[in-house]
């Protein structure tokens, strides 16, 4: 937008807010990427770094909350400005949750770091994670470029993540059913996979909020979903049924 406010300090406030959101988004993206690398390599030190850095993510949320509150009071924003500010508040909340999931993944990575036979399963989770990272990258680009079309494509990608999560869930159930010694490992992996899937959901939320910010309305229609993990049962013979 080439437009500017009559009060130029207002533009500066908005720029600062957008910078904070973009920086927070970049940090969360990096947190998830690092958490997934640490998982694949079962690297507890890197995982601990991720856990440590979550405080910085939380700090960003606090700063954005403060900045938006001040802008609401001091600028009394209207129309698009109001939506930009409200959406920044919501994005900060979504990004903070995404950061929490990266931290949770890393906590389990620390726990799993002494175990073996994780490589293949971790690699499967990483594949899903890469898809989610792609969503995060695109959604942050959409935010920075004010690109509603790009935001809409991100919403569609969550369906792929859901499908991948359903497959992983089945895979880990089968692993545990085949060998009860893997129950502990499998349970952690199921939670990690779920964390990654939830990050995808939040990235979708972010995309929807960007749509709202640009258009003044939420995207039409239901968001595509294909997570069927809640309907999967695996019996003792290793066969699965889908309810």
């Amino acid at each position: 937008m080439n437009e500017r406010h009559i009060v130029s300090a207002y533009d500066e406030d908005l720029r600062q807010l957008e910078t904070l959101v973009s920086e927070m988004g970049g940090l969360v993206e990096s947190q998830l990427a690092t958490a997934l690398d640490a998982l694949v390599q079962l690297d507890p030190d890197t995982a601990k770094d991720v856990i440590q850095r979550d405080k910085i993510v939380d700090d960003y949320e606090t700063r954005i909350d403060k900045h938006t509150t001040e802008m609401l009071v001091l600028r009394q924003p209207m129309a698009q400005d109001l939506r930009v500010i409200l959406v920044a508040l919501k994005l900060a909340s979504n990004l903070e949750r995404m950061g929490d999931y990266a931290k949770n993944i890393s906590k389990r990575t620390v726990t799993l770091s002494g175990t073996t036979n994780v490589t293949s399963a971790a690699q499967s989770i990483k594949s899903m994670g890469d898809k989610v990272l792609e969503m995060i990258k695109e959604v942050l680009d959409a935010y920075a470029r004010r690109d509603g079309e790009l935001a809409s494509t991100v919403i569609l990608k969550d369906e792929d993540v859901d499908r991948m999560h359903t497959n992983l869930f089945r895979e880990f159930l089968e692993m545990m059913t085949a060998d009860p010694q893997h129950i502990s490992l499998g349970t952690h992996l199921i939670f990690i996979a779920k964390d990654v899937e939830r990050v995808g959901d939040h990235a979708t939320n972010v995309a929807e909020k960007i749509h709202y910010m640009l258009e003044g309305s939420m995207p039409e229609g239901d968001r595509p979903k294909d997570d069927r993990s809640s309907g999967i049962l695996v019996d003792a013979a290793g066969g699965d049924t889908q309810s």
Binding site: R4, H5, V7, M78, A79, R83
Partner: protein, 278 residues
């Protein structure tokens, strides 16, 4: 005065003031402006304004200085008749009656459409006389008791009664600015109007007095149709159900206030409400 006849859709009108307020868009508007143009000595001030104003609700007119919002407001009760060189064309109806009809008694019209101005302007008389003056000249009360009742009821409705009931004979000019403005509102409602026009009624008041007037506007809308011109977008957002944005003599956009202030359709409206330039 030249008056071009424009086609007005036939309406089922119920002018009873006791009808319940409704959001139903099918309800006939209290005021309908169709193709209204106003010029001052040949210079066009407002151009082809079409606007329906709903009964028993608050409609705010906003826009930059010189956009025509006050000119339009003053067309509704023919205040522009008093300005030399001012020409109004088009059609304005109140309850489907032509406001500019040749048989319209302007004094009666202005009783039905009261006005409150930017600068509180009580008569240099007592508080009581300020409120009693209108009903007396319009013959709405002949007996002293009736007049007393009207004065009390109007001051109660204007939220001023408790503050002045013990000094009704005191000069109105001794009241604070906010009180004087509420007295002007009491004076306007004493003659039982249908519509109250307000031209920046709070621009000379502090925030507390402004809040009292806004509370009063909110209360009065259950009984009267209110049209308010304001320079404060926050005030328009707080008090109006519908908001109309004027720019360079045109009505750019009119919609529910919450839509105008969150997601206006027109770029000019958006730039104005966000305080942006191009």
């Amino acid at each position: 005065m030249m008056l071009e006849r424009t086609h007005v859709q036939p309406l089922t009108v119920n002018s009873s003031r006791d009808e319940p307020s409704t959001d139903d868009a099918s309800v006939a508007p209290k005021i309908r402006a169709s193709g209204v143009n106003v010029s001052y000595s040949g210079r066009l001030a407002i151009n082809n304004v079409n606007l329906d104003i709903k009964a028993k609700s608050v409609t705010a007119l906003i826009g930059p200085s010189g956009c025509g919002k006050t000119t339009f407001l003053r067309c509704i009760n023919r205040m522009n008749d008093l300005i030399e060189g001012c020409e109004v064309t088009g059609n304005i109806t109140l309850d489907n009656e032509d406001v500019y009809g040749s048989d319209v008694d302007v004094v009666v019209l202005r009783r039905r459409i009261g006005m409150v101005f930017q600068k509180h302007n009580p008569f240099p008389k007592s508080i009581y006389e300020n409120v009693a003056y209108g009903p007396r000249i319009h013959g709405q009360a002949t007996k002293g008791d009736d007049l007393n009742q009207i004065v009390e009821r109007s001051l109660v409705r204007a939220g001023l009664w408790d503050e002045v009931k013990d000094r009704l004979d005191a000069p109105a000019t001794g009241l604070s600015g906010g009180q004087q403005q509420r007295l002007c509102i009491a004076r306007a409602i004493a003659v039982e109007p249908d519509v109250i026009l307000m031209d920046e009624p709070c621009s000379a008041l502090d925030p507390i007095a402004t809040a009292r007037i806004e509370e009063l506007i909110d209360d009065l809308k259950t009984k009267y149709t209110i049209v308010i011109v304001t320079h404060s977008m926050q005030q328009a957002a707080r008090v109006s159900q519908r908001t109309a944005f004027f720019h360079l003599g045109e009505l750019v956009e009119e919609n529910e206030a919450k839509i105008i202030f969150t997601n206006p359709s027109d770029e000019r409206t958006r730039a104005y409400v966000t305080g942006s330039i191009g």
